[in-house]
Symmetry: C2
Subunit: 232 residues, 2 copies
């Protein structure tokens, strides 16, 4: 463990020991993708009053193998203490620093249909370090309504909403046919990270990240296995 101060287990993670962020390029993408799960697992055991956890215990809660967890955390310079384990609060703070969650990150949602509406009200975003600062929709019946305490702005104000909110991240929940245009306009306005729910592959320039969540695809992948079982 990278020298947690004596009092760190009592302090909230963001106030914990000064933490050094490893160079982003030293953390493999597959490890980055698992860090939120570790953060979740740490919050879970911390809520149960646990202050020090073994890699076996943490891995069990996170749903990975202990070897995987130890390897991933070693990229962060966290190795735990033999026979004691990881300091839960310190490790939580450390992963938060690595993920850039030391401040609330502003996010804009474009598309206030059922899904966009649900995401605007999703407590899991707030709890995980994000704040929705702007909502945009193209439908004149939706523009001007209040969702999650924010006024829905018209499509032509998209760039203003992004800039006014200081957002570099956005969520796209528009129909597939509109997604690329919305994406292009978000990128032009300065957005660099996009969570895309439209069932359409988006083209973005270098330096912009897209993560796509296609809910229909997820069910189709499950259907494959379901069918495979029923035929075997």
């Amino acid at each position: 463990m990278g020298a947690p101060p004596p009092g760190s287990t009592d302090a909230p993670p963001r106030d914990a020991a000064p933490l050094v962020r490893p160079a982003a390029r030293t953390v493999p993408p597959s490890t980055v993708a698992r860090l939120p799960g570790y953060l979740r697992a740490l919050a879970e055991v911390e809520a149960q009053g646990v202050r020090t956890a073994s890699s076996d215990a943490l891995a069990d809660v996170a749903g990975v193998s202990p070897a995987q967890l130890r390897k991933d955390l070693s990229f962060l310079g966290s190795h735990g203490t033999r026979g004691v384990g990881y300091d839960v609060a310190h490790l939580r703070g450390q992963i938060g620093v690595v993920l850039g969650l030391t401040r609330q990150r502003p996010v804009v949602i474009v598309g206030l249909g059922n899904l966009g509406h649900a995401l605007a009200n999703y407590p899991g975003f707030t709890e995980r370090g994000f704040v929705v600062v702007g909502l945009v929709d193209a439908d004149p019946h939706v523009v001007g309504t209040q969702v999650a305490g924010l006024r829905v702005e018209p499509a032509e104000r998209l760039a203003d909403v992004v800039r006014e909110g200081g957002a570099t991240m956005a969520v796209i929940t528009v129909p597939a046919g509109a997604a690329q245009d919305v994406c292009d306009r978000l990128v032009a306005a300065g957005v660099r990270g996009i969570l895309n729910f439209a069932p359409r592959a988006l083209q973005v320039p270098d330096g912009v990240d897209v993560r796509s969540v296609d809910l229909g695809s997820e069910l189709q992948i499950l259907a494959f296995h379901d069918q495979a079982r029923s035929m075997s």
Copy 2:
């Protein structure tokens, strides 16, 4: 191309040539995960009136490399015709058969908060081969309400709802603390494929598949890259 009949491009995919499903074990999981994207790309080009598409064109719409697409489709026995490409309708039908989408598959949703409510009304499920046959919630204020034309049933009726709907797939949109219990009860009722939106790793027995979509994690992974850029 595996001998499409002359008229197959005019027929809807499900009525196309008799199609043989390859043994599930011959299709690698990473390929299975990309098949829904190919299905989406095929529907997209078909809607534009395209009947035959090159691997380059399809790969571009699907957002993968042409080599990847050709390799994935070769596991299905589809190799296209040199200089002509793939028969769009036939390939669509073939992937549908592989994914088990030749009939609408019934799905139960447990947890009718904002997200469950949005998913119950999500057109992307219906369009992609699924029909929501049952809704369950533990909140007495929600039980008995109508969502997407269905009555929300109480938690104690979960197994009945699964059996009455003939569902072997379910979506979990309950709070993290309730997710494992709901999962256990779904599995006991015969569910074999679970799409989990609760931010909690679920334990399931062999023969049950879970795909987890953790929306907070997706944003956190984007935040890592966003922060990495701003620091470089």
